[in-house]
């Protein structure tokens, strides 16, 4: 299993961006790039080369699912695992995110102290599912 080091997080809310930096960078020890919009993610994903992408579902202009579909068109992001971050945790919605290719869904609000370990677990499960 390759290590999980680089995470790209697409999130429009500046407050959540701050906590995410803390939760993923300081607590988790990951290298983190935060994008404020789907468009920004599309321009940055190739240069940053993340191991994993976290996508907020509800964003203005381009929402999470649309961003995912756009990312899939880029060679650099075609196969990257994507996890949705959302406050909507109804089962049918979770299923619909999986259908469009999300690896998993993490519900908001997340606990900043345990987000990193949650991601590591999901990373492991994801790789076990590949083999």
């Amino acid at each position: 299993m390759p290590p999980l080091n680089r995470i790209l997080y697409v999130e429009d809310d500046p407050d959540i961006q701050m906590v995410a930096r803390l939760a993923l960078g300081m607590v988790g020890g990951f290298t983190v790039e935060i994008c404020s919009s789907g468009q920004e993610a599309l321009t940055k994903v190739e240069a940053f080369a993340p191991d994993l992408i976290l996508l907020d579902v509800m964003m203005p202009v381009m929402d999470g699912p649309t961003t995912l579909l756009e990312l899939r068109k880029l060679p650099a992001a075609a196969d990257l695992p994507v996890i949705f971050m959302t406050a909507k945790v109804q089962t049918h919605e979770v299923n619909s995110y999986r259908e469009i290719g999300a690896v998993d869904v993490i519900s908001k609000p997340f606990d900043p102290m345990s987000l990193a370990s949650t991601l590591r677990q999901k990373w492991q499960v994801y790789h076990e599912s590949l083999t």
Partner: protein
């Protein structure tokens, strides 16, 4: 020495920054709403929706749960309007304004205005608010629906003495809207209504269907037959009380259904001469929500042991100066740390060495390198057991309050703290009036019920930082840090008053019990002994001035003079 890891401080800073930002966020929402009212541009409504949605997500992350809850309701409400693609009608516009008001009311700023800590006895009123409402963020709303107004009012009154906020409805039809307005912490529902012999149950089933979360539910009824009970169980009722209702038992149930006590994080002291390895293990444990403190020089362990008060000590076996085994022996030879679990960590696979370690008071032996899950698991189970044992050692079995010995220990600690920070402290001794008569007339089980209800009332009415103990028999004691004796008298008088109004039941009979209380304060009384004596003497005077009252100890100077 600061045991908090940097990022927890960092998070606290972020949370503070966020809290400071809340008023401007709310102002922004208000301004967008007024713009929408003028321009009727749906895009503005979408923006408002997004702001509410974001606040729902972010506020909870920073620990502002009631703000988050309300923002979530606002978010869903706006979503519904947006989905219709129609402009909001008059009624909905009013509701938006109500939501904006509610958000302000539950914002931390509005809360702070209510709970400003008092500086002197003049602003006591503010302090009262804080004590009377110990858990601002906790939902304490209880709905009672019963078509017997007298019974519902009486029950509501009794429940409200225990810190619950109660709303009473006499018609089933009103319940629906009440729940739409605010989801209660619990619902107390009669079964028989004019609509039918099982109408309460049926109404609840319809309401629950629309809710995403289960609403804690207590059924009350004169019916005690299998049919009613079975339907109640099927409707997912959490409890069933037959009338006349045992209020004490009902409150116990309410407490159990509504309280979600947050356990303190486990505290682990790590002693390893290799600082980077200690940090690595610390990081793993912190990920699991524990608080850690690392010591790389075993000769320096005594001070952190005392200051950090670990639930468990993780020790590397091979260290220069002093081996882990020696260190464990040193720690174990001190009375206070006899029961703190010690776990050894080493590359040692030699069985003999491991047995030595266990013989010297080690509780477990982990071999390096260790998988994070194994480390977390081994430590969690040890700490849980230690905490359970400790709780049995320091708490009174009936009331769950601190026992005599431990209360005295806490009083010593709090006195030291008060001296260090030059803050006042109040100590109160409480004794139930004519308790022997209660036991003699109603039996010991009823007496125990009375003791429990006082314990519960004290817990509900006092602050988290106040310390409550059962001194023995029908005697209780409270330590109120950073409180002047005069303020303490006010607080205890409220509690005395509330307690006198609680109805106790035994064998179909109803009775009330009163209490007397004596209070003394630091710095009037400078040490534990004189403080306890003075409070005891004040209690004695309370008993002799007719009971059911709170008496303040005379200032020491005055007392010596007379």
């Amino acid at each position: 020495m600061n045991p908090l890891p940097d990022w927890q401080e960092e998070l606290a800073l972020l949370a503070k920054a966020y809290t400071d930002e809340v008023p401007s966020k709310l102002a922004q929402m208000r301004s967008i709403w007024s713009q929408f009212c003028e321009q009727k541009d749906q895009r503005l409504l979408s923006t408002l929706h997004r702001l509410a949605h974001n606040m729902a997500g972010s506020a909870a992350t920073f620990g502002l749960s009631s703000l988050s809850d309300q923002a979530r309701r606002f978010d869903l409400f706006l979503k519904k309007i947006l989905d219709t693609q129609l402009p909001p009608n008059n009624d909905q516009e009013q509701q938006v304004l109500a939501f904006l008001d509610t958000l302000y009311r539950v914002s931390p700023q509005a809360q702070v205005e209510k709970v400003t800590v008092f500086e002197d006895s003049q602003s006591l009123g503010l302090e009262q608010t804080q004590r009377g409402n110990p858990s601002q963020r906790q939902n304490k709303l209880v709905l009672i629906v019963d078509d017997d107004p007298a019974l519902a009012t009486e029950l509501g009154l009794q429940i409200s003495y225990f810190g619950y906020q109660v709303k009473i409805f006499n018609h089933l039809a009103e319940l629906n809207q009440a729940i739409d307005e605010q989801i209660p912490a619990a619902l107390i529902l009669d079964i028989i209504f004019p609509e039918g012999n099982l109408a309460g149950i049926e109404a609840f089933e319809r309401i629950q269907k629309k809710q995403a979360v289960h609403i804690p539910l207590i059924f009350t009824s004169v019916r005690n037959d299998m049919e009613a009970r079975l339907y109640a169980v099927r409707a997912k009722g959490d409890a069933y009380f037959t009338k006349p209702i045992q209020v004490g038992a009902l409150i116990d149930k309410l407490d159990a259904l509504t309280s979600h006590p947050q356990e303190e994080p486990f505290r682990v002291l790590i002693v390893d001469d290799e600082a980077s390895l200690a940090q690595y293990h610390a990081a793993i444990l912190r990920q699991a929500g524990m608080v850690t403190h690392c010591v790389s020089d075993p000769m320096q362990v005594l001070q952190p042991l005392h200051d950090f008060r670990p639930d468990l000590i993780l020790i590397d076996i091979y260290m220069p100066q002093c081996t882990g085994l020696e260190l464990a022996t040193v720690i174990r030879q001190q009375e206070t740390y006899v029961s703190v679990p010690i776990v050894f960590l080493s590359t040692e696979t030699n069985q003999g060495k491991q047995q030595d370690a266990m013989r010297l008071g080690g509780d477990d032996f982990l071999t390096k390198p260790i998988r994070p899950e194994r480390l977390i698991g081994a430590i969690t189970s040890r700490v849980e057991r230690y905490r359970t044992l400790r709780s049995l050692m320091i708490r009174d079995g009936l009331t769950g309050l601190l026992n005599h010995t431990h209360l005295k220990e806490q009083l010593d600690l709090e006195l030291l703290r008060a001296q260090k920070y030059q803050q006042p402290l109040a100590f109160g001794m409480i004794d139930l009036d004519h308790f022997k008569t209660v036991n003699d007339s109603y039996g010991h089980a009823s007496g125990d019920g009375v003791l429990k209800s006082l314990a519960r009332l004290l817990r509900q009415r006092l602050r988290q930082t106040d310390i409550i103990g059962r001194y023995g028999g029908e005697e209780f004691a409270v330590i109120l840090p950073n409180t002047t004796p005069v303020a303490a008298v006010q607080v205890m008088n409220e509690i005395r008053d509330g307690f006198a109004q609680i109805h106790h039941y035994a064998n179909g009979k109803e009775f009330t019990v009163t209490l007397s209380c004596g209070i003394a304060g630091f710095p009037d009384y400078g040490d534990q002994r004189s403080l306890c004596d003075a409070a005891d003497e004040a209690l004695y005077r309370a008993k002799h001035s007719g009971r059911n009252c709170v008496v303040l100890a005379r200032p020491q100077k005055h007392r010596e003079a007379t």
